[in-house]
Subunit: 261 residues, 2 copies
DNA sequence: CGTTCCGCGATTGTGCACAATTGCCCTCCG
DNA sequence: CGGAGGGCAATTGTGCACAATCGCGGAACG
């Protein structure tokens, strides 16, 4: 995958209705737009114009406005010049900050999950990843793409849910949402996928065995390694692109450099 | 302080305009309404009706709607029957969860603040609390009210800011916002205020001295004590009010029980 | 040729009207 | 007297129109 180079929204039109019990336009726009942003499908400097979005989603400006306001409140959109909204581009420093927080959160997750002893769920997670390791030669390198980011996240999400602390799970999901905006552009290598699977199995095994300390240590190492990959890639991109100190926020590695306006 | 017993919104009317550079109605409504909710000024089952709020804030429904949607997205409002919005009342279990997370967050805060060595800021915080301890006999018991909750929060917020990690600070502020909805109703006793000041000084001293482990330990103990107070009070309220399992969410201790409709 | 100022288009903020849904009350029937 | 059904009021979701504001382009002036 690779986001459509320029106008991500052009061929994305579709009526908004579904068959769900009660789907409000504002809700649909919010969810779909958020996924697009978090999935990296909205180019860097792309201005989100209410009228335009209203056309795409086959609705009026009112529901679009509500969705945009919520996304702005979430911090996924920032106001550019003249009150226009653009996707908030994360910078390298804040990525480090996110990972710092994520480490202690994930440590707490495995400690709580160890206490909780929700064996059925934990073993299901372990089995899934055991199966994944077995299937790895079959699936080939196509598995190692942005899709693997979501697969990876699901591991951490399931663990967080098994921790029994809903607040914890919610914060972790939020952190991953933010981190993903950078991770999604990684071309994860096959050997990194293999390593990740191994690390996940280490962690889940320790949790199943009830060894909180080991699980926490494995988790910490795992997240730190992940942080290292992102940081490394970000540094690479910065030195590759331009010598300017804040170069990374200005344009991603293969991102189309959209002019300010 | 004690929120107006019945209709918190009745005598709260005022025009919405200010002299600030550019104040949108939606923004003003959002901020003020959020502060009212977080400050416990919106009674438990109180339905928030768009038209009513529009009158109070001297504006139309459109900005009110945007504010409500954002508050809903933040989790401060929940949808009741028929799509109406009510303040989200926290339950005891989620309070425990919030405190569990807050402990590891605060530990990270002091560890980072210790590393950061932003001495001027840290010493300013220490001086403020030293002065507070000295002034305590003067200020009398009036100091020990809901206002002290905000004073207490400011300590943790300043420390989080001094940690140099903006993400960390943001999460902590959010956690405190949620916890406050219960804490705000506490009648903090004078001796608890004294103890809190002492604990804060313990923490900040350790941070200034650069002893991360001691600071983390003090912080953990401090937050745990705070959690205990809230948990204790919540349990008291539940057994005092009604025997029903979920009794606490049904009505606060001195909260007017507003009929469903 | 550079600079400044004006006007215009684009876009957002706000108000309002209409449709739809929901819950409640009253009535009617068993 | 109790329960079911219909009508009504209240409230929210949506669309649209108008006003305000901002940025940009062009024209006029130095």
């Amino acid at each position: 995958m690779r986001p459509p180079p320029k106008d991500a929204a052009s061929d994305d039109e579709r009526p908004v209705g579904r068959s769900a019990p009660r789907q409000f336009h504002a809700e649909v726009v919010y969810v779909e737009l958020r996924d697009q942003i978090l999935g990296g499908q909205v180019p860097a400097g792309q201005r989100l114009v209410e009228e335009r979005l209203a056309e795409q989603f086959r609705t009026s400006r009112t529901p679009v406005r509500e969705a945009l306001r919520r996304l702005e409140g979430d911090g996924y959109l920032v106001r550019g010049s003249g009150g226009s909204l653009e996707p908030a581009l994360p910078d390298v420093e804040s990525m480090s900050e996110f990972y710092d927080v994520r480490i202690v959160i994930e440590e707490l997750v495995v400690r709580r999950a160890t206490q909780e002893h929700d064996l059925p769920v934990l073993e299901a997670v372990r089995d899934d990843w055991l199966a994944m390791r077995a299937d790895l030669p079959t699936r080939g390198p196509s598995f190692a793409g942005p899709d693997f980011v979501y697969t990876d996240e699901s591991f951490h999400r399931r663990l967080a849910t098994a921790s029994g602390n809903g607040v914890l799970a919610r914060i972790l999901v939020d952190l991953n949402d933010r981190i993903r905006t950078i991770r999604i552009h990684d071309f994860t290598t096959v050997d990194r996928v293999e390593a990740t699977i191994g690390e996940h199995l280490e962690i889940i095994d320790a949790v199943v065995l009830g060894d909180a300390e080991a699980a926490a240590a494995f988790m910490r190492a795992h997240v730190q390694r992940s942080a290292l990959v992102v940081r490394q890639r970000a540094t690479d991109a910065r030195t590759r692109m331009s010598r300017r100190p804040g170069g990374f926020e200005e344009a991603g590695p293969d991102e189309v450099r959209v002019p300010r306006r």
